[in-house]
C-alpha cells in the first residue's frame, strides 16, 4: 500500500541496546506515523511527523525518538531497548484531504530479550 517499506522486518535484540527502525515511502505523503501493536491494546501512536524535521509525540512516546530528514524516510529509535518494547511496529503515511485515511507498511516484529 502506497509504496511503504519497513526495515528490518524482524529483529531480536538485547535489553539496553539501541535499535533503529526505518520506514520508507515513495508516495510523497506529508504525514508519517509510528505505531506499536500489542494484544488487547490495538494500535497506539508513538510519534508522528507532519513534514521534514517536524515531529510530535503520540500517546506512548516514552523511550522512543524519531527523525525525519527527508520526506520519504521516517526513523524510529529505541535509545536503550527494554523488554516492554517488544512489539510489532507499524509505520503509516497519510496525506490530509485524501480521504483522511492511513496507509500502513508491513510491520517490524521486535523482540527484546
Amino acid at each position: 500500500d502506497a509504496g511503504i517499506t519497513q526495515s528490518p522486518r524482524h529483529k531480536v535484540t538485547e535489553t539496553g541496546t539501541p535499535v533503529t527502525l526505518r520506514c520508507h515511502q515513495t508516495e510523497n505523503h506529508r504525514y508519517m506515523y509510528w505505531y506499536r501493536q500489542d494484544p488487547g491494546h490495538g494500535l497506539r501512536l508513538i510519534h508522528y511527523s507532519y513534514g521534514v524535521k517536524d515531529t510530535d509525540k503520540g500517546e506512548v512516546s516514552d523511550g522512543y525518538s524519531v527523525s525525519r530528514s527527508k520526506t520519504e524516510d521516517f526513523l524510529l529509535t529505541l535509545e536503550s531497548a527494554t523488554s516492554s518494547q517488544t512489539s510489532v511496529y507499524f509505520c503509516a503515511t497519510n496525506t490530509p484531504g485524501h480521504q483522511e485515511t492511513q496507509y500502513f507498511g508491513p510491520g517490524t516484529r521486535l523482540l527484546v530479550l
Binding site: G40, G42, L43, Y48, Q99, Q102, Y103, F104, G105
Partner: protein
C-alpha cells in the same frame, strides 16, 4: 487524547452467520474509518464515514455512522472464511492524529 471503545474484543461465528462490531465514543466524531487486518498482516483501509446517519455498503459489509456521530458499526452478512481478521475503527482529529479502537478479532469456523 480521544478514545474510542470497540466491542466485542473477540467473536467466533460459524461460516454463513452474520457478524457485527461496534465502536463508541463519548465525544462527537468528525469522521470514522474502518480497517481490516488479516492475521500476520497490516491494517488495510476499508472505508470512511463522515455524515450523521451515513450508511455505506461494500458487498456483504455494511458500515453505519450514528445519528449523533458518537458511534459506528460494521456488519458482515453471511460470513466467509476470507472475512477472518481483526477489524479496527479509527478516528482522526484536527491535528491529523489517528486513534484506533482495540479491534474485534473475527474467527470464522468452516
Amino acid at each position: 487524547g480521544q478514545q474510542v471503545m470497540q466491542i466485542p474484543q473477540y467473536q467466533h461465528v460459524q461460516e454463513g452467520e452474520d457478524f457485527t462490531t461496534y465502536c463508541n465514543s463519548s465525544t462527537t466524531l468528525s469522521n470514522i474509518q474502518w480497517y481490516k487486518q488479516r492475521p500476520g498482516g497490516h491494517p488495510v483501509f476499508l472505508i470512511q464515514l463522515v455524515k450523521s446517519g451515513e450508511v455505506k455498503k461494500q458487498k456483504r459489509l455494511t458500515f453505519q455512522f450514528g445519528e449523533a456521530k458518537k458511534n459506528s458499526s460494521l456488519h458482515i452478512t453471511a460470513t466467509q472464511t476470507t472475512d477472518v481478521g481483526t477489524y479496527f475503527c479509527a478516528l482522526s482529529n484536527t491535528g491529523n492524529q489517528f486513534y484506533f479502537g482495540t479491534g474485534t478479532s473475527l474467527t470464522v469456523i468452516p
